[in-house]
């Protein structure tokens, strides 16, 4: 084939251009760390990357939801723990009151005051909140579950559920509406108080102590349920974390450059670029003109 100088020059320019473009492309991949910088770099990979990114964000969200559920459950449990202690104190008062059947009005008043204080403390605990969120008022989270000044201890909250999405399709009720736990406790304590005040010792030993025991049981049952939920949240959070790691790993496979391969490619592209530059510098050095005198 007859080759002209103009064509040789054109080819040199276009070849040097394409080898410098491939060098530049490899450098870009290495410096960004990403194999896919635009959808066209790998359309199928882009679809996968977008789906994985979405799933990873979802997992992040589930982790946050779990954290929030966990703190709500843990706080509920610790408040109910305090309630347990208070009921145990009330039981001791009941036992003492039943045994000390002396009819001493000063002692009676002291016992009754103790029970009253316990009722007040339990009311405070029942009204406790986390971030302005009442633990035991159902969804009426801005309302105290029980009014301290209300001797009937009527439940002011509702039976609504606070739910947490802790995993795809898994919605967990994290709250315990206060009436189910506290109403029985309050009525037992009120009964105890009035028995003490009335010096009704038989009723204290027959019903009062038993009332405290059943109250303790009610709290413990609730705490057991909360404990189970805490376990469920922790287990789910662990699973979410594991799948998050695996999704991150998959995303990295799709999206990130393989360093070893890319370094090798860079070296190759560099060599080719150097060779094409050196060929260009040597090109068109000779022509017949050099030999015509």
């Amino acid at each position: 084939m007859r080759i002209t100088e103009a064509l040789m020059t054109e080819n040199l320019i276009s070849n040097t251009g394409s080898s410098s473009a491939s060098y530049n492309n490899t450098l870009n991949q290495l410096s960004s760390g990403k194999r896919i910088n635009q959808a066209s770099d790998d359309p199928a990979g882009t679809a996968k990357a977008l789906a994985l990114q979405g799933m990873i964000s979802d997992m992040d969200q589930y982790s946050r939801n779990s954290d929030s559920a966990k703190s709500f459950l843990q706080y509920s449990d610790s408040q109910l723990g305090s309630v347990t202690n208070l009921i145990q104190q009330a039981r001791q008062v009941a036992v003492a009151a039943a045994n000390g059947a002396t009819g001493d009005s000063t002692t009676q008043a002291a016992y009754s005051a103790q029970v009253d204080a316990i009722i007040n403390q339990i009311t405070q605990l029942a009204n406790s909140d986390i971030n302005g969120r009442r633990l035991f008022s159902g969804t009426a989270t801005n309302t105290d579950a029980f009014d301290a000044s209300d001797a009937t201890h009527a439940y002011k909250g509702n039976s609504g559920a606070l739910n947490a999405q802790i995993a795809p399709g898994v919605s967990l009720q994290i709250n315990t509406p206060g009436d189910s736990v506290f109403s029985g406790i309050f009525s037992s304590l009120e009964a105890l108080k009035s028995d003490i005040q009335n010096g009704n010792y038989t009723s204290i030993s027959n019903n009062g102590i038993a009332g405290m025991d059943s109250s303790l049981n009610a709290v413990l049952t609730t705490r057991a349920t909360i404990g189970n939920k805490l376990n469920q949240v922790s287990d789910t959070a662990d699973r979410i974390q594991t799948s998050q790691l695996s999704l991150q790993d998959q995303l990295s496979t799709v999206e990130d450059v393989d360093l070893a391969t890319t370094y090798a490619n860079l070296q190759l592209a560099q060599n080719v670029y150097q060779a094409s530059l050196s060929a260009t510098s040597k090109a068109l050095q000779y022509s017949l003109v050099d030999y015509i005198k």
Partner: protein, 459 residues
């Protein structure tokens, strides 16, 4: 000394001198134009001069005709018509892919995916912020964050669409420019037809004009799929598909609409630019479809719930398409009006901890849409498909562009091997014509010596 004339030999020498010097000029012109775009290498078509038949009686009669020196019949222009057409077809195909690639790349730059700032991640952040509200609906700050995420989502939709709008303006300008170039090249070719026709009628070989016309045809082929047909009078007729745009000295002005209406436009950067423009319009329609679906779905749920103060029936998003999408200013001003819960009694306030409505909104994230343009897909899935489809188009155009570039490169090389100037070859011709000139000069000096001798004899 022959009996054809005393100075006959001198005339032969003169014709040889003139011819070799003219051939040398052609070599010079070739070298001068070695790097000129569209120049076709020229060569001297040298023929023997007219003959002289001796009119005298005698022994010379039997010798018949005497050669009368040398002459240059014409200046040849190296050109291969078949290669010209093949190269033009390849240039058209390359134009299609380059046009589509440039336009679609511009669209893709606006789309900016996969990234942490695109629509995909804004959608995910928005929906996840709703889940945060569910965790703590009492917290005005968290509600405000969710409203902020909704604003971000609306903003990324409107700014992406605005970016695509300005890309569309640029691409439309490019298409208009292409059409204008097609028409102006057609005019140029028609004008050259006239000049070539005139020169040909005078029996001249208008090489420079022919080169110019071929350059114009090459440039036109980059814009559109042209076919040429050479006419006996030296002019060429040019057509795009079934539309004749140059016919001798007249042109037929075309528009994009006139070319696409008949399906004439198949290749060339005009076709590529126009197809990218169509793809862009398609993408923008999908952006609007998606924005409308998000607004419609979210608003429908939002309306059924109520804010903390009992405000109900509000839209969260306002606007009629991606460009105008924004968040209801009433909710922006008071995030407590975000309809997180559902009142238990009509006209009442929802419980502060009730997050049932926001959960329903959050669940829209994975809802498979059952009607309209997104039918059968989730909103996120629809968007992923949009982006992937665009990426696939860019990637195809880029691959096909480099494939067609390869064939253009090869045909250019073939054409250069026919029409290009090779300096070594020209140098060789230069030596050849230099020697021919030296020899012709020798003919003249020898004839002069012979005449000297003749004149000396008379003394």
């Amino acid at each position: 000394m022959s009996n054809v004339g005393t100075f006959f030999g001198l005339n032969i020498g003169r014709s040889a001198l003139l011819t070799s010097s003219a051939a040398q000029d052609i070599v010079g012109n070739n070298i001068a134009n070695a790097d000129t775009d569209g120049y076709s290498v020229q060569s001297a078509d040298i023929v023997a001069g007219p003959v002289t038949t001796t009119g005298l009686s005698g022994s010379f009669n039997s010798m018949g005709q005497f050669g009368n020196g040398v002459a240059m019949a014409k200046i040849n222009r190296a050109r291969d018509m078949y290669l010209d057409q093949s190269l033009r077809d390849a240039l058209s195909r390359q134009g299609t892919q380059n046009g589509a690639k440039a336009g679609l790349t511009e669209v893709q730059n606006n789309v900016n995916e996969p990234s942490s700032t695109g629509i995909s991640s804004a959608m995910t952040s928005f929906f996840n912020s709703l889940s945060d509200v569910q965790n703590n609906p009492e917290d005005t700050g968290i509600r405000a964050t969710a409203v902020g995420k909704a604003q971000q989502l609306a903003q990324v939709f409107s700014s992406t669409q605005a970016g695509l709008d300005s890309t569309r303006v640029q691409m439309q300008a490019q298409v208009d420019n292409d059409v204008e170039n097609v028409n102006s090249l057609a005019t140029q070719i028609a004008n050259l037809n006239v000049e070539i026709n005139r020169a040909t009628a005078l029996g001249q070989q208008p090489n420079t004009l022919l080169d110019q016309r071929d350059v114009a045809l090459d440039n036109l082929s980059k814009l559109a799929n042209i076919k040429t047909s050479a006419q006996p009078d030296g002019s060429v007729n040019v057509s795009i598909g079934g539309t004749q745009i140059v016919s001798g000295s007249t042109t037929n002005t075309v528009t994009l609409a006139s070319l696409t209406a008949n399906g004439d436009l198949k290749d060339g950067s005009l076709a590529g630019d126009a197809s990218a423009l169509t793809d862009l319009a398609d993408y923008q329609t999908k952006m609007d479809d998606l924005a409308n679906e998000i607004m419609g779905q979210v608003n429908a749920v939002h309306k059924t719930g109520a804010g903390l103060d009992g405000t109900t029936g509000l839209d969260l998003f306002t606007g009629t398409d991606a460009r105008t999408m924004s968040v209801n200013s009433v909710i922006v001003a008071d995030p407590n009006k975000l309809a997180v819960g559902v009142p238990t009694t009509a006209g009442g306030k929802p419980a502060t901890g009730d997050a049932s409505n926001i959960l329903a909104m959050y669940n829209l994230k994975d809802k498979v849409i059952t009607a309209g343009p997104l039918s059968g897909q989730t909103m996120q899935g629809f968007y992923t498909n949009m982006v992937t489809e665009l990426g696939q188009k860019v990637s195809n155009a880029a691959n096909m562009s480099s494939a067609s570039s390869a064939s253009v490169k090869q045909l250019t090389a073939q054409k250069a091997s026919v029409s290009g100037v090779n300096l070594d070859e020209e140098m060789t011709n230069m030596i050849k014509y230099q020697r021919a000139y030296q020899a012709a000069a020798k003919i003249i000096t020898t004839n002069a010596d012979m005449l000297d001798m003749l004149i000396g004899m008379v003394k």
